[in-house]
Amino acid sequence: MRSWSFFLLALAVGLSFFVLCMVVRNDYLFFAGYVVLQFIVLATAWNILGGYCGYVNFGSAAFFALGAYTAIALHKLGASPDRYLPAALADLARLVLPPPIPVLMLLGGIISGVVGLGMGYLTLRLRGVFFAIATLAMAVVLQTLMINWDFVGGSRGAYVIRPASVSILGFSLGYIEYLFLVMLMLAVAVLTVARLIERSRLGYGFATIRDDELAAEAAGVPTLRLKLVATTISGAFMGMAGAPLPYYLGYVEPGAAFGLQYAVNSIAMPMIGGTTTWAGPLIGAILLGSLQQIATVTISSAVNLLIVGVLLVAFVIIAPAGIVGLVQGWRRRWGAPA
């Protein structure tokens, strides 16, 4: 299937799901669905670097929070431009701030992407583990930074009051439905990009890095450049997923934006679904995401994190290729002529 037709198909599936939710008219469906979609984006973005290149990023929460804090910073700036900007700029700021969510996403994505690029440049020349450790440490440092930065609320957190509704093309849409729709578009976009990468020259380059970096280097693959590309794309999508968070939650503090659940889920979902194809993170995110939404309501939010951790460890030990790998194994066994 061509990428365009894949994109249109994904879009059609997504939109029909959206329409279905609209018909059911249950707000909870949108709140829960938003979280699942957000995890689809995070898991797929993680997989671009982790699954395709084999470089583990433990700092998903940091990239995600960078997006969220970009949105908060712009929102604060827009709320009282005179306090922070010279008069000439203040008028301009009043005009454009706070920007609509898609623009916020783009900006959050750019900032996270640039940070990813910088991190990668410093650590990707060394062995892969150093990158993994550095991302882990980066999450702690960025959190420290946000705790100490009063402008975005510091450790007290920041409130963002979201409008009640939004009108697109003449339709009036509740704000949560709007956020859901935006996240849906992002999910469709990230899946299309992931699939495109997988089948392109870039993807084959990534795969050579994952399989044998030394051999790839020897064969003339520009490994450092490819790794930097992967880190930037992956970081950018995580930032984009984070940008609407303040509008979704209404209140953001460093502990919530840098929550461990983002880092863990964005690793666990691709690992459980399967890391080598775009379908893996999607399956993992839908399964784990819905499971967590159900467990949060029926048991408790701490227990559902424990479930994710145990599933992650169980899958990497027992089924290293994830659900996709299991299915492929079964198809091979049953499909083979006896």
Binding site: A137, V141, L260, A302, L305
Partner: protein, 291 residues
């Protein structure tokens, strides 16, 4: 800006004492990551586990936390051996340690933290011991005993480990496994067994470091994450697998953190280790005493 000399001296001493404690926290990573090439990012989780064991026994029986940790050493040793066995069978033997091995340890870190939160809640826990309150004063320099005791014991621990590694057969075999597994096999030593012993020793040190951690200050389950950046920064800065290098790097980081806390405020301290790590990786990845 003129800095009062007593403030300066106190910051240096506090940093050295803190550094001694960091050496105990990192020495396990120096063995597992530096020598065995096992990227055990769950190490801080075992440290926190050690803290909670010291806490439980101390609260119920009033036993000294360091003594508890010493008694619990075999337990942690066995735990380490078991973890390494799983790691070896599931990842190292299949050659999948890079991606899935890391995810495995990350999962362990996460499960430990959440399990501790579910059992003990997120309250800060602390222990009681005669040396936690008082402070020795030497002129205008303070030596709080709750820092001094862990520092002295952990320096002792590193010395004992260094002697074990350089003077005994097993110790030399551990050093050898880091250099050339095949040569070690030709010397009729089983590298997997040697690595299992070394990894178990590294987890045993985590149990001890956990007791120090809860002596120095109150502990809650997510404290461990702050130490991940720190221990790897120290390990890399000291030169992978070099115990003397680890002590030097730990003291250095301790002093810099203590200065940051004194002059800029303690909320900035976690960022220091990260700066150290990035700087080391960018400038001299081999570390101070690295080969």
């Amino acid at each position: 800006m003129s800095i009062p000399i007593d403030l300066l001296a106190n910051a240096v001493v506090a940093g050295l004492l803190l550094g001694g404690f960091y050496a105990a926290v990192t020495v396990g990573i120096s063995i597992s990551f530096g020598m065995l090439d096992v990227v055990n990012i769950a190490h801080p989780a075992f440290i926190i586990l050690g803290s909670y064991i010291a806490y439980i026994v101390n609260i119920h029986l009033g036993v000294d936390p360091i003594l508890v940790a010493l008694i619990a050493l075999p337990v942690f040793y066995l735990l380490g051996a078991a973890v390494y066995q799983v790691y070896y069978v599931a990842f190292e033997r299949r050659g999948q340690e890079a991606l899935r091995g890391l995810a495995f340890f990350f999962g362990l870190l996460f499960i430990t933290e959440v399990a501790l939160i579910l059992t003990f809640g997120v309250d800060y826990r602390y222990v009681e011991a005669p040396y936690i309150g008082p402070t020795w004063r030497l002129g205008f320099v303070d030596f709080p005993l709750r820092m001094l005791v862990p520092c002295v014991v952990s320096v002792l621990l590193v010395i004992v480990l260094q002697l074990l590694l350089t003077r005994t057969f097993i110790g030399r075999a551990i050093m050898a496994v880091a250099q050339d597994q095949l040569a070690l096999q030709l010397m009729a030593a089983n590298p997997v067994r040697i690595k299992r012993i070394a990894f178990a020793v590294s987890i045993a040190t985590a149990g001890l470091a956990g007791a120090f951690l809860i002596i120095i200050g109150p502990v809650e389950p997510s404290v461990g994450r702050e130490y991940i950046g720190r221990v790897f920064a120290i390990c890399v800065l000291g030169g992978m697998g070099s115990l003397p290098g680890t002590v030097i790097a730990a003291m250095l980081l301790g002093i810099v953190e203590s200065f940051t806390a004194t002059f800029y405020g303690p909320s900035w301290a976690p960022a220091v280790a990260f700066g150290f790590l990035l700087l080391t990786l960018a400038v001299r990845p081999a570390g101070i005493l690295g080969r």
